[in-house]
Symmetry: C2
Subunit: 210 residues, 2 copies
């Protein structure tokens, strides 16, 4: 059977996936994953709701959802402002809102993720290309990508850890002016990156979408 | 004179440089810069002393030193521990000790740096290759490198901003076991990177030394 291509059933069955975030990126991930898996979506406006900057809220979400095969986080808040207006509080806010919060989902969620499961976080193109007013966002994205690189090999029980780093989405036209010269990426391309992270075998990887 | 190579005097005169840090990396930078420039060294144990996690201390240092052409920061403290022991406080400590602190030197020091001057920060190889117990250090280094990439183009008055990212130093044998398989780099190579950052024309660059 060496020459037979593996079928889907050989590769990965239906997973139970917790997807945190209902923005443009979260929706792209959901559209891609939902036809193949059981996806539970959580955000500030769902029931159960979640605020990833609140450790208690994250814990309550996992207790409500129970064991899962994969966790996908597509949320994170960072301030945008001209460099001269980005004070120490702004960088701290970017760290708390996007970096510490996503890391805390990994730490809190780990006992709820089955052996061989996965976490997929979300950074963004500003880790590799700057835009005006984006220094705090770049910092947060760079921090997350380096964390994933380094933390993945230390994850227990074969649990994988990856991150998707998309450029500006076609479906977010409100951001296109700020990202002039960045070719907007399709929701489909972004969705593929989340499927590759969730269903693939890679770990510690930044899946860029440019 | 098109074919005449520029002489040193055409390129850059003697600069007044504030170098923060007297560890192995700081010493490598000093050895490289001191023959060519006036270098003022500051650390916790010098007079004036400085603790870069204390904004008041950083401000007092700049007020004591006055105007400079370049600032080089080679200090930053991060916790090392197995991933499962790195809690939210450890990541916050890495952010405060190495990331926010170096950024604060840039913010506080900017008015003291002459037009066309420069800042050179310090990250490290863990931004691009992980070691066991190094997830918080990787996060801090990745954050700093992305910050430099993004903040440099927004710096005023032609002030440049770069970062040196060295691998483990030959002169730090105590760290060689933790960095098995990382070829130790010479102090001379590390020194060259700081000179390139200080005397060069690049900005927003991570100068890796591997």
């Amino acid at each position: 059977m060496v020459n037979a291509a593996p079928t889907r059933c050989d590769i990965v069955g239906t997973m139970k996936i917790l997807l945190i975030g209902q923005g443009h990126v979260g929706t792209a991930a959901l559209t891609s994953l939902a036809p193949h898996h059981e996806v539970i979506v959580a955000s500030r406006s769902t029931e159960p709701s979640v605020d990833i900057t609140d450790a208690g809220s994250v814990r309550a979400l996992f207790e409500a959802v129970g064991e899962v095969d994969a966790v996908v986080v597509t949320v994170g808040k960072v301030p945008f402002a001209p460099l001269e207006e980005l004070g120490v509080e702004a960088f701290a806010s970017a760290f708390a809102g996007k970096v510490a919060s996503q890391i805390e989902v990994v730490r809190t969620g780990l006992p709820f993720v089955r052996d061989g499961g996965s976490f997929t976080l979300t950074s963004g193109v500003l880790a590799r290309e700057p835009i005006r007013t984006g220094a705090a966002a770049s910092l947060a994205n760079g921090a997350l990508e380096a964390y994933v690189l380094a933390a993945a090999p230390e994850m227990p029980r074969g649990v994988r850890l990856n991150i998707v780093s998309p450029s500006v989405l076609e479906s977010s036209p409100g951001h296109h002016a700020a990202f002039a010269g960045f070719p907007p990426v399709s929701d489909e391309a972004v969705g593929h990156a989340y499927r590759r992270a969730v269903e693939g075998i890679q770990t510690g990887r930044t899946h860029t979408v440019d």
